[in-house]
Amino acid sequence: MSQDQPFIGIDLGTTNSAVATLVDGVPRLIPSRSGQSLTPSMVAVARNGKRLVGQMAKRQAITNAENTAYGAKRLIGRRWGSLEVEDARKVLPFELVPGPEGSDIRVVLGGRAFAIPELSALVLAELKADAEAFFGRRVTKAVITVPAYFNDGQRHATKDAGRIAGLEVVRIINEPTSAALAYGFGKQMEKRVVVFDLGGGTFDVSILDVGRSVYDVIAVGGDTYLGGEDFDRRIIDWLVQSFAEEHQGIDLREDKMALQRLRDAAERAKVELSEIEQAAILLPFLAGGGDGRAALHFDRQLTRSKLEELTLDLVQRAIAVTDRTLRDAGVRPGDVDEVLLVGGMTRMPGVQQAVRAFFGREPSRGVHPEEVVALGAAIQAQALLHPRGDKDILLLDVTPQNLGIMLVGGYFATIIPRNTTVPTSQAHLFTTVQDNQSSVRIAVLQGASEKAVENELLGEFVLDGIRPGQRGEVDIEVTFEISAEGIVGVSARDSGTGTRQSISVTATSGLSEPEMRRIMDENLDDLLARRQVGDFEKLRERTHAILSELESLAPAVKATLSRSRFGKDAVQRAEDVVARARGALADQDLQKLSAVEESLDRALQLFRGLATGAGPAPKEQA
């Protein structure tokens, strides 16, 4: 089966990303085309206007700091003006601006504003290309991981990113769950596992019962703003401060290039300190002396104990979250059979020490902390796409945060509590508060606070067209659903008459549908330009024209058909042809597209005829 349809699992990280698949039933990391196992999650626009992704982007980051974006994951699905974003704006070398709706965030690179999912999409597309090089074939199906603590908006935005990159995101799964999956792969066991996942930007902790090839998540907790970047920032702050002390108050923050060099050096020192006790930070010509004075060098030693001192509170924050999550689930540290360390930050001895002290046991060293998540995603992709029956693994995940609605007075009413196994749904009755009220507005939120404003607003739902009635007499049953991916859905029904109620959604973050289309078209243009297939280009335009005419005729055709019993199968065929044409367009397959061209023409004839009601009678189509 896997011969026909390659699939991949992607760990879309804050700092680094990885892609994996199953080769002969064994999970395996796919190396980048340049031979690296990890791809930096960086996107840059070079001075010549070229887009650079991954290793290429990282290599030029120092000289082009303001046009090099990193850490998109910490911004994805977040709202402009939120505390996290304001915080990030202060330290990021690239420029953030609000999106056209005013609610989401754009990153300005090379004079163009990129939506956050767009940046993630570029990284995903890079990984996709790596996978295609590995398989020698097109790859479209992927499982992408997100931190367990991601909310609905962040998951949506990640899915959008996958779509923009031309991937069919079969499933969004949680990183710790994915790690447990890779850990438990091929093993027979019955264990209670805790995954302690401290990555580049986010911290997750998950408690799972693993056994009988089921990965049953009991509880998750986390902090989407705690990770390696915060550790780096502590080092940078310390470096900047000591430099200022040494050189009469020169502030390195004002120099973007110097700051980028410091960032690089800080990260490198942090990594080195996992192996050795002391790391040298030597940055010659870091700052110009100015006024004809000699350039200034930077030369400091950072010891492991100094690093631990600088970051002690960050480690303690992670332990506190772990403690709370265990308490939540009624699990004592001693009940845990295995502690898995995931994420690059767990290589730090100080972190390992804290985990060891908390659980009173040695954490497992059996997995590669940076690769394990992508491997798990590949395993899940295989289980979803090529099920083999009973032996297959099954993930039972939970929802990380309370889902609820805003009540009068700004209070938050939980409808689906956190740590509920997904998929799940819960109905809630709303009633009208005025006579003949025709609409109800419901704000849906996710979070842990009792106060609505302190939680994340997922969207506002307006129930329209409520039948007239005395206040309190019309009950609307609103059903809230959380899918297995943690994505929220809402539907409504008049519980008196049983009729479905229309719901309109105003998403507060992420991209609008038209904008998605525009970006996807643009990406397609980009790809096409790169492939330089002129013929395809022409055919594509023509096909587009036919497709859009077909689409515009569709309502008229439907109307004609509703009055007649003829032509239904012919229309079905026409629709198949359209689907094939779209497939060929999406695959950018010139041969397929030419093959379908003739049929498409005939479909157009048929539709024109049906739409006017006077054209040729429907006849058999090829």
Binding site: D209, R212, L384, L385, P387, D392, P423, T424
Partner: protein, 321 residues
């Protein structure tokens, strides 16, 4: 959970015929499950016997989740079955969540127990009670202080039973003993006194009956003796005094009769019979005015006393007084 074991389930042919990418057997399982689960207990949902332990709950949940979890059908045409699968999985999860806490499980077991189980539990309860009683008795035998208390309790119980069966003397004996052994046994003292009183009354009544028998046999001396005895035993009951007075009157011992009758009137001023007998004695003595007064009083209390009425009519009128 093969449908063969549930022949009562009616499949909707339209549902079965729906074009979906699911095997017919599994389709039937899904329809059966989704159509029946509303009426099932959490255990039935998981295919477990009533009150199955928590570890089996988890096992059963995982087995069924593997069959019905929507992930098992990724990428397949599911039609209306998609919704059913989601509902089934949620129902399974609900059952698991409800049964995985021991406390919640016990509570749920109580509310869902089948009738035969309720009967079994009740029988066991009775058995337990019996056993507890035996155990108490055993302990009692082995410890003097406890023995005393247990003995007191047993006596009190026996005394109460005797009281209810109107064996007043037994009751009085047992209750007084119990009260003496352990003053804390209920409110035993007043009950003991009450039993004593009733025992005395019963004893006096017995003798009175013998006196009546002697009277009927015209052995008036013996009757008089016995009646005096009864009155002596239960001086609180004026009826015995009245009877003595009546007997004395019949035998012509008027002085005795009068003093007894007067005593009875003093003891029970509202008893018509006392006034009546006094009136008769006074009439016999010829004290007409006093007799009339006593008889009138008797009739005031009980207007239907025939003997008093008769006596009053027979009294000669004296306008002197």
């Amino acid at each position: 959970m093969r449908r063969d074991q549930n022949p009562g389930f009616l499949f909707d042919s339209e549902d079965l015929a729906e074009e979906v990418e699911i095997d017919l057997d599994l389709r039937k399982d899904i329809l059966f499950f989704a159509g029946s689960m509303a009426g099932w207990t959490h255990w039935e949902v998981l295919g477990l016997p009533w009150n199955a332990p928590a570890d089996r709950v988890r096992e059963a949940y995982l087995d069924r989740a593997k069959i019905f979890h929507p992930d098992r059908f990724t990428g397949r045409q599911l039609g209306s079955y998609r919704q059913r699968l989601a509902r089934i999985f949620q129902r399974l999860t609900e059952a698991r969540d409800a049964l995985s806490s021991e406390v919640a499980r016990a509570e749920y077991a109580r509310t869902t127990a089948p009738p035969e189980e309720v009967a079994r539990v009740a029988a066991r309860q009775i058995e337990n009670d019996d056993r507890a009683r035996e155990r108490r008795a055993r302990i009692a035998r082995s410890h003097p202080l406890v023995a005393r208390m247990v003995r007191a309790r047993e006596l009190a119980d026996r005394g109460r039973r005797a009281l209810a069966e109107e064996r007043f003397e037994d009751a009085a004996r047992d209750l007084h003993t119990a009260s003496a052994l352990d003053a804390g046994v209920g409110d035993i003292r007043p009950l003991a006194d009450q039993a004593s009183r009733k025992a005395v009354a019963a004893r006096a009544r017995e003798i009175w009956e013998k006196a009546r028998a002697a009277e009927l046999q015209n052995d008036l001396d013996r009757a008089q003796l016995l009646a005096e005895q009864a009155a002596g035993i239960d001086p609180g009951d004026p009826r015995h005094g009245i009877y003595v007075a009546q007997l004395a009157l019949g035998r012509g011992a008027l002085e005795t009769a009068r003093s007894r009758a007067e005593e009875a009137v003093r003891a029970a001023p509202t008893l018509a019979a006392a006034h009546e007998v006094l009136g008769e004695v006074l009439a016999a003595q010829g004290d007409t005015a006093a007799a009339r007064k006593a008889l009138t009083r008797a009739l005031e209390i009980a207007p239907s006393l025939p003997r008093a009425r008769e006596q009053l009519r027979k009294l000669p009128w004296s306008f002197l007084r």
